[in-house]
């Protein structure tokens, strides 16, 4: 005869989790894709895995928002590290095929592509700071907390990223 699990071991409240998922998933996927150099599939994968881990702990996590943020950022960092190794071996592949997201075009689209190419090529920490600062509008302290680094690291990373982008736009 089946017995009901103890209350503290109850399954996640799916409606609550679903609400959270519906609200957070698009935000997290878009940010993860930006953090991963525009890799849409990888962004979806990373966020899916983070939600999966969160679902398993749903009800034990006091504040799922920051938890999810940290999980996704950590996963993006790990993935970027692996991708960096791959790029070291096959740099041409990582650069994309000719004509795909290149620096061509004109007007706003051309500007976006040039900037995006530079952002996508930044080291992970610099790219993350750029995304969190200019896409999400976070403060340096918030960025440091999100990335798990000291606040003093954010400024130099941002400065180096902007220097790189400024050079690219000359």
């Amino acid at each position: 005869m089946a017995t009901a699990p103890p209350a503290e071991l109850a399954a996640p409240t799916s409606s609550t989790f679903e609400d959270f998922y519906r609200a957070e998933n698009p935000v997290q996927v878009r940010r993860a894709a930006l953090l991963l150099g525009g890799d849409e599939a990888a962004g979806n994968d990373v966020v899916h895995d983070a939600f999966l881990a969160l679902y398993q702990r749903w009800g034990t996590v006091a504040d799922p928002g920051p938890y999810l943020n940290r999980s996704v950022l950590n996963a993006c960092r790990d993935r970027a590290r692996r991708d960096r190794r791959w790029r070291d071996v096959v740099p041409r592949l990582a650069a994309g095929s000719p004509g795909e997201g290149g620096a061509g075009g004109s007007g706003a689209d051309g500007d976006h592509e040039i900037l995006w190419d530079v952002i996508g090529a930044l080291p992970f920490n610099q790219r993350a700071v750029v995304v969190l600062r200019f896409y999400e509008g976070r403060t340096e302290a918030e960025i440091a907390a999100a990335l798990g680094c000291k606040p003093g690291s954010v400024g130099p990373w941002l400065h180096r990223a902007l220097t790189t982008m400024r050079k690219a736009l000359r």
Partner: protein
């Protein structure tokens, strides 16, 4: 408004525009069932979540903690200052940070305003626990005796590494300034080997990290061995067992910049020429300038063998000293009560769940 400010604002607007343009094109997979269905047993039974806490020591060793950056910088800095000629080995200190020792930093927010720093309204002062990774190998230039004559090899859990403030691009190019080290990383299993060296030792550091033999350890950081020191270098300490110690960190945010303060256990400490001796709370301290951006201040605590180090950007020399003077050190219980949210949002603090189907 200067031309640089105009340029910065224009560039920021273009970056923001480009990012939003790119993000809008991302297709989002929103199939919730791909998450929930996989965890339910056939027949629609709900999963049972049994939380199994990890042993505290193991969690501390493996957890990826907030400000490893500051800690590694501090440790590298401290190693560079180690007394030459001392017979005391540089083996890492192991063991938990004592909860009753008065080494946990607290700063009154009024101190910031009192010395002309405008506190960040969102997060002026945050206390966190961080981990410090002991060095596994230290080499010294045979002909050298200064801070720029030491190469340090670290073994760290992978996610401890990326937050390091002095991180440089993969090509080893110097990122911040001539006095900062080059770093090379080698990923092994769940860990990363990091070689820090002075700027002119790029090729040596690069060769060193390639030559190290890595011995995996089940569930622990791997060990490393080295057949022979590179030409012109000698092994000063190690290879030794890498250790991780969890220590408190205080992060400060104010209008002109940020600062990070951490404590570190160092039994020996001798200043070099480029450091300015100072007094902090009547105890020995050393000050160095961060290339016009701020100051690093290291000083001895009342607890024997413990030192505090503050890396502060956007502060003057006097402000750095005043900040250090304003810090008080207490025990862990008091500190934790003061900064109760320090680890609440860290996923690593949660025990790993195991799932059993009924």
């Amino acid at each position: 408004m200067t031309n640089d400010q105009i340029d910065d604002e224009a560039l920021a607007a273009r970056i923001t525009d480009a990012l939003h343009h790119r993000a809008a094109a991302v297709a989002v997979d929103d199939r919730l069932d791909s998450i929930t269905d996989g965890l339910f047993a056939p027949g629609g039974l709900a999963p049972v979540h049994a939380l199994v806490p990890s042993p505290p020591g193991r969690r501390a060793a493996s957890r990826l903690v907030f400000a490893a950056a500051a800690v590694l910088v501090a440790a590298a800095f401290s190693l560079a200052l180690w007394q030459r000629g001392s017979q005391q080995p540089l083996s890492p200190v192991s063991g938990p940070t004592p909860a009753d020792a008065r080494i946990y930093p607290i700063l009154d927010p009024a101190t910031l305003e009192g010395i002309g720093l405008t506190p960040d309204p969102q997060a002026a002062i945050q206390g966190t626990m961080s981990s410090t990774t002991g060095p596994a190998l230290v080499l010294r230039r045979v002909s050298g005796d200064g801070p720029g004559d030491v190469i340090t090899v670290w073994v760290a859990s992978s996610a401890d590494v990326d937050g390091v403030g002095v991180a440089v691009p993969p090509d080893g190019a110097d990122a911040i300034g001539s006095d900062h080290p080059v770093r090379y990383e080698r990923d092994v299993a769940d860990a990363t080997i990091v070689v820090d060296g002075p700027r002119d030792t790029g090729p040596t550091s690069e060769a060193l990290i390639a030559d190290l033999t890595v011995i995996p350890q089940d569930g622990e950081l791997p060990l490393i061995t080295l057949d022979a020191a590179p030409d012109g270098w000698e092994v000063l300490a190690g290879p030794s067992v890498p250790t991780v110690e969890v220590i408190p960190v205080l992060n400060l945010a104010y209008g002109t910049g940020t600062a990070s303060l951490n404590v570190t256990r160092q039994p020996s400490f001798v200043p070099q020429n480029e450091l300015t001796p100072v007094q902090v709370g009547g105890r020995a301290g050393y000050l160095s300038e961060l290339e016009g951006q701020g100051f690093t201040l290291t000083w001895a605590l009342a607890e024997e063998g413990w030192w505090a180090q503050m890396v502060g950007y956007g502060v003057s020399r006097d402000q750095a000293l005043a900040l250090a003077e304003g810090v008080t050190f207490t025990d862990k219980a008091v500190w934790s009560a003061r900064y109760p949210a320090s680890t609440a949002t860290d996923p690593g603090d949660l025990p790993p769940p195991t799932i059993a189907q009924p």
